[in-house]
Symmetry: C2
Subunit: 412 residues, 2 copies
């Protein structure tokens, strides 16, 4: 088996699971309980949060632990809630889910029309659904990308108005691996804020970034990147599923998504997922320890894939995470390829897993200007810790074989 | 060590952990991915949901998996969101959390004044914070309890108006273990609905119940109980922390708390916590299998405690789960008792863990009419699977000794 879909899911590392294990059955106490063993669990939990925070140059108290990146992204956008004038109405924008089967989403365009003024929220058109769908709830406006997948900074500058309060740009895209120039976006934001200050306009302007895909591949420091809100995800970096975090700077004022016992500074109630956070911390520690080694290894594997594979067009040519290879084959149905490769024990993706499962064409590949035919022939290969160099060569051979077979079938 | 705080947290059972383990590092695939091993994981996940649902007489598609009971309670209350006329405004009611340290909650009283009509939501005054705090967000009105902890059904009947849409009553209270007469509440609701129908008034009237504490101690069937929404929690029944579920009947129309990839029928986006749900299902399976045995065992232990312990006043005399013994000692500070017992290896609680950790006096004990002094001297002992009969005798001896010491100290 050769798994080349590490952007969709990563296995929990052995050391992560070992770190978690004592917290399932032995140190299982409720961190809020009054007796010493519970207080020790609480201290371990806080120490784990500090480890995660430290890895991005923050403090434990700057983090809100969530059930994953989706919740963290949703929580980040609540900075748009406590507003003086009525531009966001939960009542009219909330999609109604009938029974629990069908959901109807209001569109961002409709809301803009209704509200008749420019948007408080700008987000990159290539963002993951957990940003896009939330952005639509807030009537957000999309910023386009250049054909290389990078944010169109000129469009960003044009679209920032006095109404703008939040800009959301992922650190690395989940379909292409494209690394966005966040520090540059932060610089633009600083200029706007300075200019607003001169005019006496007091309005927040925050930068949010979903860094789910990047934590084990880029050196992330919230101050250097200039972000106010940042989403992290354990499950993409060999940590457990169901755990994520939101970094929250002192400038960002959030509202809870859920209410209850007041855990996580009142922003995220519920008994703490102690084993999950202990595992997350170990995953982050490992990610940081092996950052440079992994990058070199993945860059070498990317090179091997690009030289060994045949007859493809490379889509993510530049600015991509080393672990991402996105290809396109002419006149080939990628969904069929996934199936044929699966039969030979090679697991790859056609796009984001959640989009793919719904048969939706990738909005990311569309945004960078690919034709429908190119999109239909696109494969995403994401290498990772389950792979070896030998596997990479083997995968290239298998993919070449399957592609040849497909071309023979079509011409035959 | 004798752990008598099973209402605060339970250890993950060995068999639960064994069931989860393959899903951390082997069957780690994203359930939304297109290749076979991922589809197998997806099938296992759905089967686990079916097991959980089956235990309460429901189908897998009736469940929304959440990160725990708090999120499930919050999600349940979204049935109040899609309303035609403006009685709930997210903008004005959302508490603003400044930085991430301080939070300001709007009070239910203020909201009622602002809105100038009776409440759409009734909830039991003794509910857990994860119901109470959400209820306050929606301007909910509390229903009192009788001195025995049971819902005041007459007050409930009086408070139901044409505006009422949701009634939230936990199946068993988390501080007293009081089992509420849910079927009776459901009967009252049916009568009101029938009467409304006759008058042509089309307005939902739903019954929500937080069953977190009861899943392994009561035979729960959603149809028999007559609930439309029910909250379940893995972490209270020897399953993993960070996993819960909301049962949603076809009558209940909810809005998502978070948006994203559209998992859980669009109501709860985010990559599924597969190991967590597998573990939850195993915990539920075990709970059902050992239901009668456990009840008998815990009832016997409760009897032992009541006969061996000395000089106490029993608070939860009737209608309580067999595992709950809530006591009160005159002129003794229960917080000091927790500390003294901890030193002798006996772990008990003074109230709900999250309330206790904030030094807040129990609203539950207050609601059943206890004086401040009684509340200050109250202990909650909750037995469970970590205990043996020998431990129960031993715990009673240790508690008696500590109490004697305290009385000696005071009189000495």
């Amino acid at each position: 088996m050769i798994y080349l879909d590490h952007a969709a899911a990563t296995p929990v590392d052995r050391r992560v699971l070992e770190a978690m294990e004592p917290y399932f059955a032995e140190k299982f106490y409720n961190p809020s309980a009054a007796y010493l063993p519970a207080k020790e669990v609480s201290a371990d939990y806080e120490a784990a949060k500090a480890t995660i925070a430290h890895a991005i140059g923050a403090k434990a108290s700057d983090l809100v632990i969530t059930a994953g990146a989706t919740e963290a992204n949703n929580l980040a956008f609540t900075c748009l809630k406590p507003r003086e004038y009525p531009s966001f109405s939960e009542r009219s924008l909330a999609p109604v889910v009938t029974g629990i089967g069908r959901s109807v989403f209001a569109t961002s365009a409709n809301m803009l029309l209704e509200r008749g003024h420019s948007s408080r929220l700008l987000y990159l058109v290539t963002e993951h659904d957990s940003v896009r769908r939330v952005a639509e709830q807030y009537g957000g406006e999309a910023i386009g990308v250049l054909p290389n997948g990078l944010i169109d900074l000129e469009e960003l500058k044009r679209k920032i108005t006095d109404e703008t309060e939040l800009i959301s740009v992922s650190l690395a895209n989940n379909e292409l691996g494209t690394i966005q120039p966040l520090a540059e976006v932060a610089r633009i934001i600083r200029e706007v804020k300075l200019e607003r200050m001169k005019r006496g306009l007091k309005r927040q302007l925050l930068l949010h970034s979903d860094a789910s895909q990047a934590l084990n591949l880029l050196d992330i420091n919230v101050a250097r990147l200039g972000v106010d809100l940042m989403t992290l995800n354990a499950a993409k970096v060999y940590g457990p599923k169901g755990v994520g975090a939101l970094y929250v700077s002192h400038e960002a004022k959030l509202s809870p998504l859920t209410y209850g016992g007041g855990q996580e500074n009142g922003l995220r109630s519920g008994t703490e997922n102690v084993p999950g956070v202990i595992g997350f911390a170990e995953a982050v520690r490992m990610a940081k320890e092996h950052l440079n080694g992994n990058r070199k290894k993945y860059a070498a594997w990317r090179k091997i894939l690009l030289s060994e594979l045949q007859g493809y067009e490379l889509i993510n040519k530049q600015h991509a995470l080393d672990s991402f290879v996105v290809l396109c084959y002419n006149d080939v149905d990628a969904e069929r390829l996934v199936f044929l490769l699966e039969e030979k024990g090679v697991y790859v993706a056609t796009g984001a897993a959640c989009a793919a499962s719904k048969g939706v064409k990738s909005h990311v590949l569309k945004a960078i200007g690919l034709t429908n035919e190119q999109i239909a022939g696109s494969l995403r290969l994401t290498v990772g810790e389950t792979n070896t160099e030998e596997q990479i060569y083997e995968a290239a051979k298998i993919i070449n074989g399957v592609i040849e077979g497909e071309y023979d079938r079509c011409s035959g």
